[in-house]
Amino acid sequence: MAIRKLLVANRGEIAVRIIRAARKLGIATVQVHSRADADMLAVRLADEAVDIGPPSAAKSYLNVAAIVEAAKASGADAIHPGYGFLSENADFAEAVAAANLVFVGPTPDTIRTMGDKAAARAAARAAGVPVVPGSDGIVTVETAPAIAAGIGFPVMVKAAAGGGGRGIRIARDADELAALLPQASAEAQAAFGDGSLYLERFIGRARHVEVQVLGDGRSAIHLGERECSLQRRRQKVWEEAPAPGLPDEARAALCSSAVRLAEACRYSGAGTLEYLYDDATGEFFFIEMNTRIQVEHPVTEMVTGVDLVEEMIRIAGGEPLRHRQADIVTRGHAVEVRINAEDPTRDFRPAPGTVTALALPGGFGVRFDTMLYPGYTVPPFYDSLLGKLIVWDGTREGALARLRAALGELGVDGIATTAGLHAALVRDPDVAAGRFHTRWLEDWLERRPLAPVPQKETAP
């Protein structure tokens, strides 16, 4: 059934992104919003807007009943969950289906399997996808020491119900593990309502490489990989496609493994398989699958020419995949940097407030996906992502040069942003050479705190 009216169950830049894709397809849009978001850009752009509750996300963007009710009342026939909030909530996907509405995403069963780390790992192994050596399933205080000894220290203790980098601890030896287990279980119970833990080998110097897939429930294709190693507190800040320095053989093995897993779970929609890639050995290991659109999807769009949000809406409406694997050709190089309302000179302190003036970069190969407009007040209640500056060029070197120029044009007055961090990163020799791993940025920030005023490079 082709979708005629789409409700956007999200906010910020991704809500704007979804509305634009829907509009291109001639689909009407309904934007739900909290009371703190009545003047957000997506509300202004959408055909209709519905107030679903107070500022607190728990009472608005996470309120399943209010969102389903808004869809029914407005005559929407489908719901796009974006990322975060309810996007990977199987109960929400079920509630949407029960109301005879289309959920733009995979089935509740797939969301549930991939949302359970141990089940996802088992599914990956069954599909022949390499996984990080670890416990096959949940460990207890009693079973963990022997299992950890078998895996080899250091080990990561992870909450089965965790995600987004939350609920992860590292134990360097048996004593640390014994001390950490009860505490980690209690924290997981408090944070996720489930104290179950599992163990994985800790790979110290790894890259975070992920593969974008599209599936229609029958077959699946990949759209290449993204490199997302530049992270702070396990939050990505800079992403690229393709991954610099990845040998062609490794790329082919990585991407075909992602397709195997997507097809094995009869994946429908856009999804991402996250891997750790060990530069030293060329080994890669599946970590998890995100069953939704991701923040960094535009770098894939820029190198493949495929509008991922459009494709996921078409698939949800019942269309088969419009591309075969052979149709997907990546061209050039794309980089995305996240512009957050955080002050990098003050330990990334959150910086909500009013944007008094706005200068956006532009020109060939420059894209800025944002919810900002001059005079907009960024509310304090949600995450700090303001927008994403995405650049494309024929080569990585050219893309970095374009990024430097575009960052020079970007001006967000009235609030602090992370633009200054990126201006420093884009000039760093290690970044220019693609020499980084998942802990590189935190080390770099420690060695070289960002001064309030940009300074000349002093680090070797």
């Binding site: 107070p54 959150p350 909500p352």
Partner: protein, 80 residues
């Protein structure tokens, strides 16, 4: 007896408890010392403590637990 109204320094969501199900940091009538935590403000998923800058007795809260608050809005009264 001088009652002072303290304004919230940051916008966000006000929490009177360290975590759901736990006892509030302070109840009305409690003694407050300089540096005591009165509550938390959640700003963009980051929790910042609200610490007392003057000692005294807590008289009233102007914002309920888990409710939004704007910077400069009266947060609590203290009898110094």
């Amino acid at each position: 007896m001088t009652v002072t109204t303290v304004a919230c320094p940051l916008p966000g969501t006000f929490y009177r408890r360290p975590a759901p199900g736990q006892a509030p940091f302070k109840e009305i009538g409690d003694a407050v010392a300089v540096g005591d935590t009165i509550g938390l403000i959640e700003v963009m998923k980051t929790f910042m403590p609200i610490e007392a800058e003057t000692a005294g007795t807590l008289q009233a809260f102007h914002v309920d637990d888990e409710e939004p608050v704007m910077a400069g809005q009266p947060l609590y009264d203290i009898d110094v």
